[in-house]
């Protein structure tokens, strides 16, 4: 098996082959059988249509509402949009641009989300790829035992790590953050470092495991040949392993990106909750608590937060599905 995912998915197949197979099958059967098949599949089609509609309506309602004037959202259901027409970008302007203290001011939090996601994905990716290479291609005693141990760490729930890690950070990282703030005043004392490090640490077991599976499958002859030619491990890593492992790295990168972007728990514990660090999810969770009735803000804000993962989802669906399924046990 050449992919990192535990299962090979049909999503990656192009539609053409599925339809061709379908036509071939129907073509072979006598007409009566075909009619019968169509009839039984009618109930199936209706059932699947109902499920599909049920699954879409909630998001659709949110989307519609985010473009309705606040007054209309408050007094009428979004499904009455044709009886109570109204369309506005005010909600988006309000949550993104309004500087007033009572507004969500999401702009700063979007920047935070992007900043956190960037290094929260990159750091574990690089470190895990290096470790995966060592486990796969540098022979040493105890390699197997150590690898199994790393793999087993996946069973530790995040909740087990939160309290002690926070204590470690406040003892060791706090002074450094304060020092950075003294030297460069525009960097606030509360900076991204704890969130980056926490995400990197929690991602490590799964990342090493998935990337190892892939990197170990690179043909040994290639690596051996490079070794014979006198290449160092550093050279092999950069020139051979990295280029060959790109699909696996991409899958994991996307999984980790979505995971970090959508995370609430790590942010709640390690960000401090201020505009300086807190990501979009944390701000929205806070808004549902403090301004739970301000639907014009919540709908627009929620839609802003889900639109980036959705774009990634639709444009990189194949990698996305693989990465997500492969990492389904994370947390």
């Amino acid at each position: 098996m050449s992919s990192v995912a535990p299962a090979d998915l049909p999503v990656s197949k192009d539609k053409g082959s599925i339809e061709a197979a379908e036509e071939a099958e129907y073509g072979r059967k006598p007409k009566t059988a075909r009619v019968k098949q169509r009839l039984t599949s009618r109930t199936a089609t209706i059932a699947s249509l109902i499920i599909a509609v049920l699954w879409t309506i909630p998001t659709f309602g949110l989307f519609i509402s985010s473009f309705r004037p606040a007054e209309l959202i408050r007094t009428t259901g979004w499904w009455t949009i044709f009886q109570n027409p109204g369309f506005t970008f005010d909600n988006y302007a309000e949550v993104l641009l309004s500087p007033s203290a009572s507004s969500p001011q999401l702009g700063a939090y979007i920047v935070n989300s992007i900043a956190i996601t960037l290094l929260g994905t990159l750091i574990p990716l690089v470190l895990a790829t290096m470790a995966a290479y060592a486990f796969a291609w540098i022979k040493f005693r105890g390699a197997n035992v150590l690898f199994i141990f790393v793999f087993a760490l996946q069973i530790v729930p995040l909740q087990m790590a939160l309290v002690p890690l926070l204590q470690i950070f406040s003892t060791w990282l706090r002074p450094m953050q304060a020092w950075v703030h003294d030297v460069i005043p525009i960097i606030p004392e509360q900076n991204y470092a704890p969130v980056w490090l926490a995400h990197a640490m929690f991602a490590m077991p799964l990342a090493i495991f998935l990337l190892h599976n892939f990197i170990a499958e690179i043909p040994g002859d290639v690596i051996e040949a490079a070794r014979v030619d006198g290449a160092t491990h550093g050279q092999i890593f950069f020139r051979i392993v990295l280029p060959l492992a790109t699909p696996a790295i991409a899958s994991f990168a996307i999984f980790q990106f979505i995971w970090v972007w959508n995370d609430l728990l790590v942010a709640l514990i390690f960000s401090g909750g201020t505009q300086d660090v807190a990501p979009l999810t944390q701000r929205l969770a806070e808004l549902t608590g403090t301004r739970g009735q301000a639907w014009e803000l919540l709908t627009a804000g929620a839609f802003i937060s889900i639109v980036i993962p959705l774009i990634v989802f639709f444009s990189l669906q194949r990698y996305f599905v693989r990465g997500l399924l492969a990492g389904a046990t994370k947390g």
Partner: protein, 322 residues
């Protein structure tokens, strides 16, 4: 956010990237220049140490420490009080019961719907689009999903028009509107609906892949024997996808046991909706009851443990077969 703030943030990212690149670059540089004697060990250390350090600081030490904290009171003396509290306080017991309800309902219902859907749309026209629709909620954050569904459950008192879809339906059929999220015990089930909404797509995609792996010859043979669709499903398809079914159910169970964001965003654990993961956060970080929080984390770990071990075994066996 002022321009200064933004500059500070950009500077942080740039500095973060630069420092990280410098550390990795230096590391690789030095391991390539390591002394000839024992070079392999230097290289090994260079590649492995950063990751192992992260694991040790981020997971190994904290997990051990949490296990110890669970058996200590606030002054550091050994005690079982944290566990006694968890299993005797009505609110804490309710948390455990809720978690059990979650883990019973979410995996079974989402797997059932996902499986049915996967079979219904199998080989149908537009299968790809059907799949995308059901799978999409997975890309949405739990916080986003929480807001989406809070809007569905929204309540308006008296004669005013309902703006939440669920209450609008209730009123439309002549009922009285309900404060869904405040009403125990229905609120827990409504939160569970959100989790099912998210997880069904996951189940569907994995099961759909498995269904396509069942050999057509077997199905056709069963067809020739005069079986009906239901018999073929039970006797041919289900045995054929057993491995995938187990993986799906266990994986969703694990995710469900750890569910936090949905409860946090929708009710914050009020109105008797709390679950272990949420209660752990509340106790440790809101009430400063570190011991209780640690005990809950340990319980969560012990609940997840057997499922993960089982799941890993299944996955390993599947790999061996391939």
């Amino acid at each position: 956010m002022t321009t200064g703030d933004l500059l500070g943030k950009i500077l942080q990212v740039v500095m973060g990237l630069a420092i990280f690149a410098a550390i990795i670059g230096l590391l690789i540089f030095f391991i390539d220049k390591a002394p000839k004697r024992g070079r392999d060990y230097w290289q090994l250390a260079g590649f492995l140490t950063p990751a192992l350090l992260f694991l040790a600081v981020g997971l190994v030490y904290p997990a051990i420490r949490t296990s110890i904290l669970a058996f200590q009171d606030s002054s550091g003396d050994w005690t079982f009080d944290n566990f006694i509290w968890t299993f005797t306080q009505p609110a804490a017991i309710r948390t455990l019961i809720n978690t059990i309800i979650w883990v019973l309902l979410v995996p079974t219902i989402s797997t059932a719907i996902g499986l049915a859907y996967a079979i219904f749309i199998d080989k149908s026209r537009g299968e790809k689009y059907y799949k995308v629709i059901l799978f999409m909620p997975i890309a949405i954050s739990f916080v986003g999903a929480g807001i989406i569904w809070r809007f569905v459950y929204e309540y308006r008192s008296g004669e005013r028009d309902q703006i939440g879809l669920l209450n609008a339906l209730v009123v439309g059929f002549g009922g009285e509107p309900v404060q869904w999220l405040q009403t125990d015990p229905i609120n827990t089930f409504l939160l569970i609906v959100v989790m099912i909404w998210i997880q069904t797509g996951f189940a569907m995609v994995l099961l759909s892949a498995a269904i396509k792996g069942v050999p057509t010859e077997q199905i056709e043979a069963a067809q020739l024997d005069g079986t009906n669709a239901w018999q073929r499903f039970i006797n041919v398809t289900v045995p054929g996808i057993r491995g995938a079914l187990v993986v799906v159910v266990t994986t969703i169970s694990i995710a469900t046991l750890k569910v936090f964001d949905i409860v946090r965003t929708m009710t914050a654990g009020n109105f008797n909706t709390s679950v272990i993961a949420n209660e752990m956060y509340t106790q440790a970080f809101r009430a400063s009851e570190i011991g209780r929080g640690s005990a809950l984390a340990l319980i969560l770990f012990l609940l997840v443990l057997p499922i993960v071990v089982y799941n890993v075994n299944i996955l390993r066996k599947q790999r061996e077969i391939r």
